[in-house]
């Protein structure tokens, strides 16, 4: 078990990427110090710990930094193998499948979500929304195949792919609200809609998922200040 001071996480409350290691640490029952970055001003510690990308999240384990959210999640799983449930599946093929969809989410699906706010004009907006909906349909299909009737992608408990996708639920809700959409539509993506509720209600997630209201305000602030959605 991690003692106080041994594990630190540099991050910010609105970031879905920061949420990923927080959920992983919660699943493992690990205590950590959360070092909140001020938006718009990067701390010395962050710049020193992640000189390559200068981004959050950064995990500091006995002062050694680990960067990139999904690399951190895998590290947490491997560094504390006997604490809590396994986050990655045990079978190599299932691991490859989980990694594949996590990469799809990061490289294709989440960028398509940001595309909605950036779209200028009716047609562009509709095209952007269609892209996100298409992606959700793929993910719905993947959920069916991977969960095999269980509550999560990871089975009975939250796993790697649940974390990779679930961290974006706050932003999905903000998008739904600001754009007047229903993305997690029970009629179109019933599996994912129910999974989303279960995910957000889970004890490992509840305390770190920001409230939609607070997130929507933050998004407004960013748009006003930078004229663009928050960076990835």
């Amino acid at each position: 078990m991690a003692k106080g001071g041994e594990v630190k996480l540099i991050g910010g409350w609105p970031s879905p990427f920061v949420m990923r290691p927080r959920i992983a640490l919660n699943l493992k029952g690990l205590e950590y110090e959360f070092l909140e970055e001020k938006f718009g001003a990067k701390s010395e510690l962050l710049l020193r710990s992640n000189p390559v990308h200068k981004k959050i999240p950064v995990l500091l384990h006995a002062d050694r930094p680990v960067c990139e959210s999904l690399v951190i999640v895998q590290y947490i799983d491997e560094a504390w193998p006997s604490s809590g449930p396994s986050i990655l599946p045990s079978d190599p093929y299932d691991r490859a499948t989980a990694r594949f969809w996590a990469a799809y989410i990061d490289e294709k699906w989440f960028p398509s979500m940001s595309g909605i706010a950036r779209a200028q004009g009716e047609e562009a907006k509709k095209a952007a929304i269609d892209l996100v909906v298409e992606g959700l349909s793929l993910l719905e299909d993947a959920f069916g195949k991977i969960s095999k009737g269980k509550p999560f992608f990871g089975g009975d408990t939250i796993g790697f792919l649940d974390i990779a996708l679930g961290c974006f639920l706050g932003w999905v809700r903000v998008t739904e609200r600001t754009q007047g959409l229903k993305l997690l539509d029970q009629a179109k993506v019933p599996g994912l809609a129910k999974w989303a509720e279960r995910f957000c209600a889970d004890s490992a997630v509840k305390g770190v998922m920001p409230e939609t209201e607070k997130l929507a305000e933050f998004a407004k602030l960013i748009m006003a200040k930078f004229g663009a959605p928050p960076p990835q």
Binding site: V52, H61, R64, V66, C67, E68, V71, I72, Q74, Y75, E78, A79, P92, Y93, R95, A96, R99, F100, A103, Y104, L138
Partner: protein, 219 residues
């Protein structure tokens, strides 16, 4: 048990080369299928419906897509020989971080070098060299990125060495002059049969790039 391993690939692809190297390191026999990317096979479209890209590793009928995912899969399934990822969790995290860095930077910047000109090309060259220098710094005085043993980050990066001649010729610069230690590392990797057999002749790659330039109307 009879293992059936197929690799759907395209000879100049650095991503495909990664998987070829990993399979060779583990001594795995496989069926190499060259894809015509202008006319993708029904097998490729069926095995990678999401991205429709190569490489695709097919193991006993089941597809594994995305080169670094396939390399990790190979390392985990054939774990008793030539480990590619270190066993220490912190070192594994470092290896994954740097392989991810290669993915984020090298291909796109390299592409810009041969497909653009003027200011855009100059900016790409500058950033490309900066990225290689960062990697060179990470390598330090070690023989390989992971230390004494050839491993994951080496597999992720070395395929791009076969494209260096094309980048240099199109961009009018010398990568060896900028990053001598990195080029020395690449030549060291090429002493391994798994690498020398996986990487195509740089002149052949250059020829391929010239064809692409003609096709896309880049002068």
């Amino acid at each position: 048990m009879a293992e059936e391993v197929i690799l759907l690939d395209f000879w100049p692809s650095p991503f495909g080369m990664r998987v070829r190297i990993a399979l060779a390191e583990k001594g795995i026999a496989y069926d190499y299928k060259e894809e015509d990317l202008k006319n993708k096979s029904p097998l490729l479209l069926a095995m990678n419906p999401v991205h429709k890209k190569i490489p695709v590793l097919i193991h006993n009928g089941k597809p594994v897509c995305e080169s670094l995912i396939a390399v990790q899969y190979i390392d985990e399934v054939w774990h008793d020989k030539s480990p590619l990822l270190p066993s220490n969790p912190y070192e594994r995290a470092q290896a994954r971080f740097w392989a991810d860095y290669v993915d984020k930077k090298i291909y796109d910047l390299g592409r810009k070098i041969w497909s653009t000109k003027g200011e855009e090309q100059e900016a790409a060259k500058k950033e490309f060299v900066e990225s290689l220098k960062l990697l060179e710094g990470e390598l330090g005085d070690k023989p390989f990125f992971g230390g004494q043993a050839f491993g994951f980050v080496d597999v992720a990066l070395v395929p791009f060495y076969s494209w260096f001649y094309a980048y240099e010729t199109c961009g009018g610069f010398s990568i060896e002059a900028e990053c001598p230690k990195l080029v020395a590392w690449a030549k060291r990797c090429l002493l391994r049969e798994s690498v020398s057999k996986a990487l195509p002749d740089p002149e052949k790659v250059h020829g391929f790039v010239l064809e692409l330039k003609k096709k896309f109307g880049v002068e």
